[in-house]
Amino acid sequence: MKEIVVRIFKWIGLPGATIIISCIAITWLIGCATNKQSAEVAAGAAGKSGAQLWAENCVRCHNIRSPGSLSPVQWEVAMMHMRVRANLTPDEHKKILEFLKSSGG
């Protein structure tokens, strides 16, 4: 077992291994920290509004753009694009699109 770990470390390098272990540790720690307040999270997309899903999903990659920056028809196209690129669930896609179209789009 030790030999396998050493070989992995040698192969991927110390910085890479450090980053991976750090990421796993941070993920675990934050997961534990947010576990208690996750009644809303536990419901997944089903328990969230379109505005909330919009804020959570879009900001993971880029700044949030104003709903008024595109027309409803344009949001339909943009959101289908984002559904594919950012792997949105159908529920997330539907709720976010409804929010954008009703909020100035």
Binding site: W11, I26, V73, Q74, L88
Partner: protein, 461 residues
């Protein structure tokens, strides 16, 4: 310009319908008001009945005449002041309410059908993209300005069918070059599965797929090894991708088959020997690459992922195996406690190519050459923007720090490189940013360090 067309057409159509309904409704209302008052008692005499019948017949004739007039007015030769004429005639005619409503409904339906014929089509189109202007002053090199423009074309053919195209225009070697970055047809097979065919961004490479756009990337340049390094930026083939919600978490996946990269076996630049050629569009060697990526989102703020690509590379009769791997981590937290938005991103990539004998007969003057063709590198980056403070200027300022590294000392490149970059951004709008950065560069293997000052303005639209 293109973006405004559907909206304008819809508005015009809506307004036309409203205007028509309002005008005909008011005309009907006026007609109703001018109709004879009903008798005060519940019964009518024979004389009254005959009189009403005669009036009804007269009204029917007038209505027929009115219809004929309207038909003539709708034709090419219109009488002077038609609206006034029609209005006067309508006021004089008492049309039974049911008949008028039915007539109005039919006319609206006809008009709807006519207007629908003028619609541009069921395909929805969106033109987007991003533009960049930059300046680079790197020690040991001449400083230079640069500019680039990427146009993204999106066509939503149906609720399941999407075409995405991206063209990149940039200056390269004193001329403008055009690159086809993306040309992908995507079809949503079901809620959890989408198939894509064509040229698409490499799903193995998180930075390329989600972060490389200049208005999204928080520094003027891109991290070593991850971009233009050890992983392809795009693939030419087909992919199957989607997301599976698991309770409060999500599992993303992507699997693809594509042209394999080439192996550079001869070059005027010795340092390129042994590198992978990701622009192998003609698929020299005839190999196929198979790869994929899985991402896990335990809570909305965090995403961790792993990707791998495997293929044979090199000439068909001497092919060797290449394995490319990537691990990524992303954390984005809007924190009221820290009064701002914090992001932490990291990605590390590994490239392994089996041993290959380059220039076996010494014709190029470098061989026979063989070496351990393993390389790795990546980056870690944090940024903070005080979005929750009240000052309109300070809330748009963002500080960024990035560490990136590229290890290839034991290859013909002959050195490892690491950089420490600090950056300051000002967000003019959510998708327009001015970036300033200074990069501290360190190389071993006798190579010269090249610190750099970078500026960039980027706009996404």
């Amino acid at each position: 310009m293109v973006r405004a067309i559907p909206m304008t057409m819809n508005q015009m159509t809506t307004r036309a319908l409203i205007a028509l309904v309002c005008s005909l409704s008011s005309a009907t209302a006026i007609a109703q008001e001018t109709a004879p008052s009903p008798p005060s008692s519940d019964y009518v005499s024979r004389a009254e009945y005959d009189k009403l019948k005669a009036e009804h017949e007269a009204m029917k004739q007038e209505l027929d005449a009115l219809k004929e007039t309207v038909k003539q007015l709708a034709g090419p030769s219109q009488a002077p002041e038609p609206s006034k004429q029609v209005s006067e005639e309508k006021q004089a005619v008492a049309v039974p309410p049911e008949a008028a409503t039915e007539e109005l409904r039919q006319e609206v339906e006809t008009l709807k059908a006519q207007v629908k014929e003028t619609f541009p089509g069921s395909t929805r189109f969106l033109l987007g993209g991003y533009g960049t202007a930059g300046f680079t002053a790197r020690s040991g090199e001449d400083p230079f300005f640069d500019a680039a423009f990427n146009a993204i074309f999106l066509f939503k053919m149906t609720d399941r069918l999407l075409f995405e195209g991206e063209l990149e225009f940039e200056f390269e070697d004193n001329q403008t070059t055009t690159n086809l970055e993306i040309a992908q047809v995507s079809y949503l097979l079901n809620d959890y599965m989408t198939i894509g065919l064509g040229r698409f961004l490499n799903p193995t490479n998180y930075f390329v797929e989600r972060q490389h756009m200049n208005w999204v990337n928080k520094l003027p340049d891109k991290p070593l090894a991850v971009y233009d390094g050890l992983l392809p930026e795009s693939e030419l083939g087909g992919q199957l991708r989607g997301v599976i919600p698991i309770g409060a978490t999500k599992l993303e996946y992507a699997a693809f088959v594509a042209n394999a990269p080439g192996l550079i076996t001869q070059s005027d630049d010795f340092s390129e020997i042994g590198m992978l050629d990701f622009d192998n569009d003609s698929n020299f060697g005839g190999h196929v690459a198979v790869g994929g990526h899985v991402g896990f989102i335990p809570i909305p703020q965090i995403e961790v992922g792993y990707g791998i690509q495997r293929s044979k590379v090199g000439p068909r009769d001497q092919a060797v195996e290449a394995i490319l791997q990537s691990a990524d981590f992303n954390y984005v937290q809007d924190s009221p406690l820290l009064k701002g938005l914090i992001t932490a991103r990291a990605q590390w990539v590994w490239s392994h190519v089996d041993r290959f004998v380059f220039d076996p007969d010494g014709e190029q003057g470098i061989g026979p050459l063989t070496f351990n063709n393993n390389r790795n590198g990546g980056y870690a980056q944090i940024s903070y923007r005080p979005t929750h403070i009240d000052n309109d200027y300070l809330k748009n300022i963002e500080g960024v720090f990035r560490y990136d590294r590229f290890n290839q000392l034991h290859t013909p490149v002959g050195f490892d490189e690491q950089r420490f970059t600090i950056g300051l951004n000002y967000w003019v709008t959510p998708s327009a940013v001015l970036k300033l950065a200074y990069e501290f560069d360190e190389k071993n293997g006798g190579a010269r360090d090249q610190d750099a000052f970078l500026m960039q303005a980027a706009v996404g639209f």
